[in-house]
């Protein structure tokens, strides 16, 4: 350990660079040379970079543990190079480095990303072995790990954003990995576009943070975070609402009343939008279930264990900003709770094993947001950890099942359909037992990892709330800011939703578990491209499938089989972790390792979180409720699908086909978006297409082209092709220029000052010009016998309301003359803001500058 500390000091921890860059190296080599290297070399490289990266992450984690003592958070930094610098309007400079840092929070996260990532790489090597895009797949996976590490280890928001977009890109590439099928490509596109909406929020949050805190790296944001308590007027957008005057009265007053929120609330909401997009929360969750179109290891790695938890990570990372705004935190908590329940309800009616797992992921992410939203950051993050284990295990188990199903069915949809499974326990025991461990964790079987992490979140949902910031809110703007304080019923409501969701989770997960592994294998009757005739009659298959199968008929064809070791070893490791990782943080048994480990990171945020009083004794009540939810949910599922052979579910579907169809169609949210959001965008696009066709293409392009070609046709007649004609035109032009020079022009610029009554005239100069003036308008030229002189500037004083006409005569070198007169009128002293009144015939023109500056010819002798 001393050697590590000596080699890699905390302020220049170059090991981070290796952790981040190794997967990039793997991606680069496999991406460029993968086709020629062959499968063995590609998988060897991809696996070894992942393994070394994981080993280095473990070393980093241990070094962090060694360095972190007591309350002080250990933090290792590696600064790469200066990226860019911005100059602030107040003259200060904002430096942005490509810098990475690691502390307890993202050190743990890096362990998960590289560790689970390695296991899933190992799994993929076997799972994707027959795929022609094998090297492409491992390239994308390595690139994903690189982006994810940039995301979690980045020391500032812009660096994080690079990783954020990188994982989005990899997600897109991997969802659409089998892009020959339009459906998969569309799912990738959907994920990408939906994420862009969230990214917009993150960009806005970055702008606001830069403006208010004066920095974008974690420590600058921390230092400037007190500025986030300034109040910002958010309404009305201009000075007033124009349409309100139509109604008038007190309504107008009410709607025009300035509204203020704190900058922290704006930042918090914008951050939340970004996190909701990445972590699939309402209303942006729609992409995640579709993302299951990708290969199953992708679903396990990206859409369950790592990428989708990036939103939770960001909220934890900026916890000290989030807690400044109780309103934003309430939005996070409520959205999390609602997402958890909503997604769980959809999972009730799905038959596709991966779809059920996808909605369960959305639901579990909702739990994490609920935990983070109520200020229980370490509980929320602990759920990230346990969820990464059990959900990755479930997805990999599902992949193993699908792999086995492919022995009989070579159809993607049918091989994922639970109605074709059942009884797989006999054929694939290892998958079964690991899946059992993960199932136990997610339904909250006592003492498994999910039990501890979910219980902690639910407890905190009830007991903890966010304080209104103490230094809130002297407003400089003269308006009052509506300070949001958490109502006392909110905790109860959040808890109620949470425990109800736990019950629902136990039910649908048990349904999945029983449908897949118990009963009789229903894959025998499957022929190629077999589809159920309608969705509505789906449920009955769990109970009735075997009724159509005559056991006396001998089974033919290959049977499902256990997967090779590359696939079951990751399952076993993850299953073990799913079962026992909960002991990292088991407050019931006074084990709070995880909590203490993360405590320094969340120290500042935790100061703003309070617990309601008298909740200590509730711990065991809540424990009972959690166990009851587990037992109730899985008991009901057992009763319906095992004891009653699915009859209650079938009769429910028959009694209320409308409700079932609605839930089966995922509450038709996609259709809602299709109709309103995408419909609106489509109409906008149609309008622009129309504008493009008729305004740009027709009016701007074709009409202009027509005018040009018409005038071209007309002008073509004077293009004779005879050089003498052209020369003659040139000579004519030369003559015109000559004529211009021999004609004198009497022009002057006028400078008037109505206040003082001083008006001055400056005659335009010309080669060989001489001038004479008639200033007093007596009809005679001024000066000695009216001779021409060289005086070009004259000024005169006028009394108020006096009119005067001034004449100027100019003679050029050829003796030709020109006369011009100028009228001056001085107006009465000004009341209404009018200024000068000049009447000088045609508007005075300033002569060309170069003419004036020619030297005058010398007098000739």
């Amino acid at each position: 350990m001393q050697a590590i500390e000596a080699l890699f000091p905390a302020q220049n921890y170059t090991l981070l660079a290796f952790i981040v860059l190794l997967p990039l190296l793997g991606a680069a080599v496999n991406g460029i040379f993968g086709k020629r290297l062959g499968k063995e070399a590609v998988s060897l490289l991809a696996l070894s970079v992942m393994f070394v990266s994981f080993a280095l992450a473990v070393i980093t984690f241990l070094a962090l543990g060694h360095a972190q003592e007591g309350e002080e958070a250990a933090r290792f930094v590696w600064k790469g190079w200066e990226w860019f610098r911005l100059t602030r309007s107040d003259g200060g400079t904002v430096m942005l480095d490509v810098a990475f840092s690691v502390d307890a929070l993202n050190g743990t996260m890096a362990l998960v990303v590289t560790g689970v990532g390695f296991l899933i790489h190992l799994y993929s090597v076997s799972y994707m072995a027959e795929d022609p895009g094998f090297h492409r797949f491992l390239t994308y996976l390595n690139l994903f790990i690189f982006s994810m590490l940039v995301l979690i280890l980045g020391d500032s928001l812009p660096v994080l954003f690079v990783g954020w977009e990188g994982v989005g890109l990899c997600s897109y590439l991997l969802i659409g990995f089998w892009f020959e099928d339009d459906k998969n490509a569309a799912a990738g596109k959907k994920a990408f576009v939906t994420n862009r909406i969230g990214d917009f929020g993150l960009l806005v949050a970055m702008g606001l943070l830069l403006y208010y805190t004066g920095g974008l790296d974690w420590s600058s944001i921390d230092n400037g975070s007190k500025n986030l308590l300034t109040s910002v007027q958010v309404w009305p957008l201009g000075t007033h609402v124009p349409a309100a005057s139509l109604i008038g009265g007190s309504f107008e007053h009410w709607i025009n009343m300035p509204r203020y929120v704190s900058a922290a609330t704006l930042v918090g909401l914008a951050l939340f939008l970004g996190c909701a997009g990445k972590s699939a929360q309402l209303p942006l969750y729609v992409w995640l279930p579709d993302a299951m179109a990708g290969p199953t290891p992708v679903s396990a790695l990206i859409h369950a264990a790592t990428m989708v938890t990036a939103g939770v990570y960001l909220l934890c990372r900026l916890s000290f900003v989030m807690v400044l705004s109780p309103a934003a935190m309430a939005v996070v908590a409520v959205t999390g709770a609602l997402t958890a329940m909503f997604a769980a309800s959809i999972a009730f009616a799905q038959h596709d094993i991966k779809k059920v797992l996808a909605y369960s992921t959305v639901s579990q992410l909702g739990y994490m947001f609920l935990g983070v939203g109520v200020g229980a950051f370490s509980a929320g993050f602990f759920h990230v950890l346990t969820h990464a284990f059990f959900k990755a295990c479930m997805f990999l188990g599902a992949g193993s099942v699908i792999h086995a199903m492919h022995a009989r069915i070579h159809d993607t949809d049918a091989s994922q359909d639970m109605r074709n499974m059942g009884g797989l326990r006999k054929y694939m025991p290892i998958t079964f037992w690991t899946f059992t461990a993960a199932w136990a964790a997610i339904v909250g079987f006592p003492l498994t990892s999910g039990f501890f992490s979910k219980d902690e979140i639910l407890l905190k949902a009830y007991t903890s709330f966010i304080k209104v910031p103490a230094t809130s809110l002297s407003d400089g703007a003269g308006g009052s800011m509506e300070v949001f304080a958490w109502p006392s019923w909110l905790g109860t409501a959040l808890y109620a939703i949470g425990i109800l969701t736990a019950l629902m989770t136990a039910f649908y997960m048990t349904r999945l578990y029983i449908g897949t592994f118990f009963g009789e294998f229903k894959g025998w009757k499957i022929v190629k491209n077999f589809k159920e005739p309608t969705h509505e009659h789906g449920h009955d298959d769990h109970g009735h499938g075997h009724a159509h199968h005559d056991p006396s008929v001998p089974l033919e064809g290959p049977t499902p089989h256990e997967s090779p070791w590359q696939m079951w070893v990751p399952l076993a490791v993850l299953g073990f972790l799913a079962a026992f990782a909960g002991w990292l943080n088991a407050p019931l048994f006074h084990i709070e390792t995880m909590h203490h480990w993360l405590e320094p990171v969340f120290a500042k945020a935790s100061a703003s979180v309070e617990l309601i009083e008298g909740a200590e004794h509730l711990e065991y009540v809540f424990l009972g409720a959690a166990i009851a939810a587990f037992a109730g949910g899985s008991g009901i599922a057992y009763w319906i699908y095992v004891l009653q052979k699915g009859k209650p579910a079938q009769s429910f579907v028959e009694a209320m086909p409308g409700v079932h169809a609605l839930v089966f169609d995922k509450w038709r949210v996609d259709e809602l978006y299709e109709e309103y959001v995408i419909g609106a965008v489509d109409s906008l696009a149609e309008f622009f297409a129309w504008a493009d066709k008729w305004i740009v293409d027709f009016l701007l392009a074709r009409v202009t082209a027509f005018l040009v070609s018409t005038s071209g046709t007309a002008l073509r007649f004077i293009q004779t092709g005879r050089v003498q004609t052209y020369a003659a035109v040139m000579v004519l032009g030369l003559g015109a220029v000559g004529w211009f020079f021999v004609t004198p022009r009497a022009e002057a610029t006028l400078d008037s000052n109505d206040e003082s009554g001083v008006y001055s005239l400056t005659a335009a100069e010309g080669l060989g010009y001489s001038y004479r003036w008639d200033l007093n308008n007596d009809g005679k030229w001024d000066g000695d016998k009216g001779s021409f002189g060289s005086k070009t500037q004259q000024s005169l004083n006028l009394a108020v309301k006096e009119n005067r006409t001034v004449r100027l005569e100019v003679k050029n070198a050829f003796g030709r003359t020109a006369v011009r007169s100028f009228n001056f009128a001085r107006p009465a002293p000004d009341r209404s803001g009018f200024t000068s009144q000049l009447e000088a015939g045609p508007a005075p023109v300033r002569r060309a500058q170069d003419l004036r500056q020619l030297p005058k010819p010398q007098e000739m002798k």
Binding site: Q719, T720, G721, V723, Q724, A727, A728, V731, P855, M860
Partner: protein
């Protein structure tokens, strides 16, 4: 300098006459070679002007330098022009400028 007996008008008049001769020649003659010579006449009229005015403003020698430039450019122009005339003659067996009217439109 003493400008005794030096009248710039005389030179201007001479140059004007030369220039007019050149331009009339260019306009009325159809023989390309004569037209080239007329151009040379006009260029020389300008050169004369420059030198004459330079004589009047002795502070710098810009006028004379310009005259040299024009001589050099005129030489280059004649080289190019004669090459064009030669090519034209090979094409049309004629040096009448009326017949070089294919490049319009």
């Amino acid at each position: 300098m003493s400008s005794l007996g030096y009248f710039v008008e005389q030179y201007v008049l001479l140059a004007g006459a030369l220039f007019t001769l050149g331009s009339i020649g260019f306009l009325v003659r159809r023989n390309v070679l004569v037209q080239l010579m007329s151009i040379e006449l006009m260029l020389n009229a300008v050169n004369l002007m420059l030198v004459a005015f330079n004589r009047q403003y002795m502070a710098d020698q810009n006028g004379q330098v310009f005259a040299f430039f024009i001589i050099a450019v005129a030489a280059a122009e004649v080289a190019v022009g004669l090459a064009i005339v030669l090519a034209f003659y090979r094409l049309k067996s004629s040096v009448q400028s009326d017949e070089a009217d294919q490049l319009r439109h």
